[in-house]
């Protein structure tokens, strides 16, 4: 633990001091001097002049908009573009600027939830490092001039034009690409995803004659087994899957989705699974084949597979899994996260035997979220190298950063005569292109999406473009010489929709909803077993393993790295390691000890990936749950051209290392690790992993629950305090740990709502992060006797922790200036303007949820101030702050009801955390209303409060987690 007392408030300047800290120090010193100089005089003149303060001008709009009222927030439906999942989104627009995004409850896929990246995407709108005008050869120019240059290049050799884009599934996007390809005969369009799932579609082309990624339906499953697919965290459509997963487990009395995760690196899905089997990547193919053999035997069908090699796993585990899956056939689902054709083919066979197609896997509304095709990409790079490409249009992609063989792409790009990047910034790729056509940010743009076949989703702008940017659709139309060139993207989209999907529906109605659901369930196509045998043999084959198996994975907070300049996403800690502002090499604690390394020691990683030599140097971190011979590295870091945040605000510095080069071509990549002797500081927000046997994040088993047990909840009676009386409402909150997956969406949702500052890596390292809510992550030991040491494959528990709004609040009794007091509705109020910063309250808080402003955390670019919520005060230096239960939303809700002369309805007021939760784990409401949802949950047998023995009587309570397994752990 850092000792806060050892950290000087105004540190002495050092050479390596980050500029923001140095500047803050300088400012503080100047302010202090200046204050002493002028304070006497100023006080006197202020009094004598009647203290009228600084004059403020009000400039009302010239023409009043009939649709908007100053100071009132309006919500517009749109589509989240933070990753390829395309969840439904609502934008909160206040006085002409989006200040918050939330999930669209009408959206049938995401159903009101939004992940951490989506929640943070509003900050990306105001990113000061966005490109502000089009460029040609490094010089800004007009759009007309740029269009001339691109159109000329396209016309010169239309058959040598290639469009390389990320997944584009909107019907208008496709319509425009098709028109482009018609007008430029011979041109080709290539899709690619930085984190590819291309093997799934390829496997289904072979096994079902349908090159598609099915829609995985956890809502129809009773048992799900996932081989390395982190479907709760990052895989394909995590918000949709998380909600289905949580709904299927929410009420254990009415069915319970059993979840088995088989993986080498600890993922969010593995952390939440009922059973987690720790299995090296190299043994997963064999395990899949063994599972397939087991199931074929149970089904009594001809088993095409040879006996897989043993080792790495216990065949009994696989047999048991086969029993469970077979018992739930028709309602069973097996997922495989590997981008490896052979393993995907075996998975298809398993799902076919289990009767999954047409039930838990659906082609009718096949997923369109990952359309990238690795083979076409390889062909494109070959063509570039061979000089067969004269014009390359890059649309929303950054291959110079995120292609495994980026160097080859860059070399190929040099042979392309003219390249233009449709990008929002001068990123790694755009900076190498002849021209850059800056795209609108998601919240400024008109676009459409089709995340699943038949599910059409619209994106509309919440603000006029901040800079001289233009939508990608409009750019493409201009460059191919389309008759639609020059048309507004909105009109283009509307025409396409009128023709193809609206079918008499009103455009404005659909736009208001943001989504049109025309999905149909598909008829299961015929399974073709040819080729499965061969795939099984290849999948099960194991090369002689030397060194560590490398696992590259998206992190929940950074994804593929496109949000590297988003400070909220850099600061939110990884759900498992709790490290922010960095990536690292995660090793099992045993492997770490074997290397003789400690957390933060630098290691040199050397690997040969598909013929390329890759060498990286990064910090080693012990991550319980890792397979012993595996090293996991998060993708999305090491961005050299993302902007000032990705460079930790000091030019030349880069946060993390780029691990895309470690992605192989389907097989297992191995590497050697060596200690370099160096060390790097890690900003970790939680360093103690064990609950030490205390009941904080509690859990019980399904069996115990069915027998009436809810886990041990000690009753605590008797208090010295007289207690409070709540005559009207009494606000309370229940958090269902059985639904919480620890994704941290709430943490960033809270940050956006409550103007919570970003403090930077050094300050996080000094335990000064400002997040009002954190998610505690505990590892429980398999062996209770060994308390303290974390097991190889521990049980993981997540617990969102924020101000518990205690009835007998310890903070309230110690505040010398009554800055923190109890409200008549049971909230613990923090009044910033009264606070003098003694920090007694934080010291007396048993939950450690209060945050102190050690500095004024000003945005270094005023554009970022536009994201601030005007309903929440900006806190200054020396002020204590904490969760207010989003009291501004409570006031707004009460006021809306009063204005309309009606009673406040239950769950009408939703704090930002509750609203953002993809799994609906958080419920807020009036505990004095016995009919309210929160009252019902508070009366549940699984309900308990944390540190109940202290008698502080928090109004936030928890429901213990339920797992379907034999013994209670932890």
């Amino acid at each position: 633990m850092n000792n806060a007392d050892n950290i000087p408030v105004q540190p002495e300047p050092t050479d390596d001091m980050p500029p923001e800290v140095a500047a803050e120090r300088e400012r503080a010193l100047i302010n202090r001097r200046r204050f002493l100089q002028i304070s006497g005089l100023a006080a006197l003149t202020a009094v004598a002049a009647g203290c009228t303060g600084k004059p403020m001008a009000v400039a009302p709009a010239v023409a009043r908009s009939p649709e908007t009222t100053p100071g009132v927030a309006y919500w517009y439906a749109s589509t989240c573009q933070a990753c390829s999942a395309a969840c439904g989104m609502l934008m909160k627009v206040r006085d002409g600027r989006p200040i918050k995004v939330e999930g669209n409850p009408q959206h049938p896929m995401s159903r009101g939830g939004l992940c951490v990246k989506g929640q943070a995407s509003v900050l990306g709108l105001y990113d000061p490092d966005r490109l502000k005008a089009p460029q040609l050869n490094g010089a800004p120019l007009t759009w007309a001039d740029l269009d001339k240059a691109v159109a000329k290049a396209v016309r010169a050799a239309p058959d040598k034009v290639r469009i390389l884009s990320c997944t584009q599934n909107g019907i208008t996007a496709r319509n425009i690409v098709n028109e482009f390809l018609q007008l430029a005969p011979g041109a080709r369009h290539v899709s690619y995803d930085a984190v590819s799932q291309s093997a799934i579609a390829q496997a289904h082309r072979l096994s079902h004659g349908n090159a598609a990624v099915p829609r995985y339906r956890l809502d129809k499953a009773a048992v799900v087994a996932s081989f390395g697919a982190d479907f709760l965290g990052t895989w394909i459509s995590p918000v949709e899957f998380a909600r289905q997963w949580a709904d299927a487990r929410r009420d254990p009395a009415h069915g319970f989705l059993k979840h088995v995760q088989i993986e080498a690196a600890m993922s969010l899905s593995g952390a939440n699974a009922d059973q987690r089997i720790r299995l090296p990547e190299s043994a997963q193919g064999a395990a899949l084949v063994l599972l397939a053999k087991n199931l074929a035997a149970r089904a009594g069908i001809n088993d095409p597979f040879a006996e897989p090699p043993a080792g790495g796993f216990d065949p009994a585990d696989i047999a048991k899994l086969a029993d469970e899956l077979w018992a739930a056939r028709g309602k069973a689902l097996v997922l495989c996260g590997a981008n490896d054709l052979n393993r995907q083919l075996v998975t298809n066979f398993i799902n076919h035997v289990l009767g999954g197609y047409g039930a838990t896997l659906d082609f009718g509304a096949a997923s369109q979220q990952k359309l990238g095709d690795d083979r076409e990409l390889a062909t494109l790079v070959d063509d570039m190298e061979a000089g067969k490409v004269s014009t390359l249009i890059l649309w929303g992609v950054n291959p110079a950063y995120d292609m495994p063989d980026a160097a080859r792409f860059v070399a190929g790009l040099k042979k392309v005569a003219f390249s233009v990047a449709i990008s929002d910034r001068l990123d790694e790729t755009a900076s190498l292109c002849s021209a850059v056509a800056p795209d609108h940010q998601a919240l400024e743009s008109w676009a459409d999406f089709q995340p699943q076949l038949g599910l059409h989703s619209l994106s509309q702008p919440g603000i006029r473009p901040l800079y001289r940017t233009r939508g990608a659709l409009e750019s493409l139309l201009a460059w191919c010489g389309s008759p639609r060139a020059g048309k507004h993207a909105r009109d283009v989209i509307r025409e396409v929709w009128e023709k193809q999907v609206l079918n008499g529906r009103k455009w404005n109605d659909v736009l208001e909803q943001g989504v049109l659901d025309l999905r149909a369930e598909g008829v299961p196509s015929k399974f073709d077993a040819a080729g499965v045998r061969d795939a099984g043999a290849k999948a099960a084959a194991r090369a002689e393993a030397t060194g560590f198996e490398v696992i590259t994975c998206e992190s929940v907070q950074q994804g593929d790295g496109r949000h590297a300049n988003n400070a909220w996403l850099q600061e939110v800690p990884d759900p498992l390691s709790k490290i922010s502002w960095d990536n690292y090499a995660a090793l099992s604690p045993a492997a770490l000890a074997k290397l003789g390394a400690k957390n933060g020691d630098l290691i040199a990683l050397q690997a040969e990936v598909a013929g390329r030599k890759v060498a990286l140097e990064l910090a080693a971190v012990g991550q319980p749950g890792m397979a012993d011979n595996a090293v996991a590295i998060a993708l999305g870091y090491g961005r050299t051209h993302a902007g000032r945040m990705a460079a930790a605000n000091s030019p030349g510095a880069v946060i993390g290392v780029n691990a895309f080069a470690l992605i192989g071509a389907g097989g297992v990549v191995t590497a050697t690790l060596k200690l370099t002797g160096g060390k790097t500081p890690l900003a970790q927000t939680q360093t103690h992993d064990s609950q030490e046997g205390r009941p904080h994040a509690m859990e019980t088993t399904l069996a115990a629950l069915h027998h009436g047990g809810h886990g041990e909840h000690a009753a605590h009676e008797g208090s010295l305090w007289p207690g409070q009386k709540y005559n009207g409402r009494r606000w309370g909150m229940v958090i269902d740990l059985n639904a919480c997956i620890g994704c941290a969406g709430c943490v960033v949702g809270c940050q956006a709502e409550n103007n919570i500052p970003v403090v930077g890596k050094q300050e996080v390292g000094a335990r000064r992060e400002m997040h009002w809510m954190r998610i505690d992550r505990y590892y429980s030991d398999d062996k209770p006797a060994d308390q303290g040491a974390v097991a190889d494959n521990p049980t993981v528990n997540f617990q969102p922790m924020m101000c518990q709004h205690c009835e007998n609040a310890p903070c309230e009794t110690v505040c010398p200036v009554l800055a923190t007091t109890h409200s008549s509705e049971g909230l613990n109020q923090q009044t910033y303007n009264r606070c003098v910063g003694t920090r007694y309250c934080a010291n007396n808080c048993p939950y450690k949820v209060r945050r102190f402003n050690w500095f004024d955390y000003k945005h270094d670019d005023p554009t970022l101030n536009l994201v601030l919520n005007p309903d929440v005060t900006i806190r200054s230096r020396g002020i204590m702050e904490k969760c207010s239960m989003c009291v501004q939303r409570i006031q707004e809700g009460k006021l809306a009801a009063a204005r309309e002369g009606r009673k406040l309805s239950d769950r009408e007021i939703r704090p930002a955390c509750e609203q953002s939760c993809p799994t609906q784990a958080i419920v807020f409401g009036d505990l004095n209303d016995k009919g309210s949802e929160v009252s019902k949950l508070a009366a549940s047998g699984r309900n308990y409060v944390v540190l109940g023995e202290l008698q502080v009587k928090p109004v936030v309570s928890y429901l213990s987690k339920v797992r379907d397994r034999h013994e209670v752990q932890g």
Binding site: V47, A48, P55, P60, V62, P70, G71, L827, Q829
Partner: protein
């Protein structure tokens, strides 16, 4: 030596400054802007519009019943009448012409804000207007003000006194006195 300085300071403070502050009418505590009456870019008269012409306050301050801001009217609201009402005196004609010109050019008028609350207070007009609190309760006799002036002192004590009165004097408006009603 030092005691001489002390006596000089003592006389300056208690002999001159304090009596002067007490006798001058325009002296307030820091943060109290009661009586603030800034010069406006146009000689708009509330006494003419709200007084003689008896326009409803919310005709111009139209957001008062739905937003935290009462809102300062847009030029388009001015032009609703001043399209036709071009003024009877040279003075009025000249100033109304300025409004029309600004409206044509699309340039907003930069009015001087009269009521400034600190950033840590979240006052909401609609909460008060929908409960039937008269504008004059806080803003004073605006229909007689030529140039707009801050009427009440708008201190927290002044706010809380009124809120308490609602609860204790049986006026029937449940006015909350929790800190987080305004401070969040």
């Amino acid at each position: 030596m030092n005691w001489r300085i002390f006596i000089i300071v003592f006389i300056l403070t208690f002999g001159i400054s304090l009596p002067a502050m007490m006798t001058l009418g325009d002296v307030h505590l820091i943060g109290n802007h009661q009586g603030y009456q800034p010069e406006q870019p146009l000689p708009f008269s509330h006494s003419l519009h709200a007084g003689q012409l008896a326009l409803n306050c919310q005709y111009c301050h139209s957001a008062a019943d739905e937003s935290r801001h009462a809102s300062v009217p847009s030029l388009s609201t001015c032009m609703n009448c001043h399209n036709l009402a071009k003024g009877n005196t040279e003075f009025a004609k000249a100033n109304i012409a300025k409004i029309a010109a600004a409206y044509e050019k699309g340039e907003p008028v930069r009015w001087q804000r009269v009521h400034n609350l600190p950033d840590f207070v979240h006052f909401n007009h609609s909460a008060h207007v929908t409960k039937g609190v008269d504008c004059q309760t806080c803003h004073g006799n605006v229909p007689e003000m030529g140039v707009m002036r801050q009427n009440a002192d708008l201190t927290m004590g002044w706010c809380v006194n009124c809120h308490r009165d609602q609860n204790t004097l049986g006026k029937g408006l449940a006015a909350p006195t929790d800190c987080d009603t305004c401070h969040h």
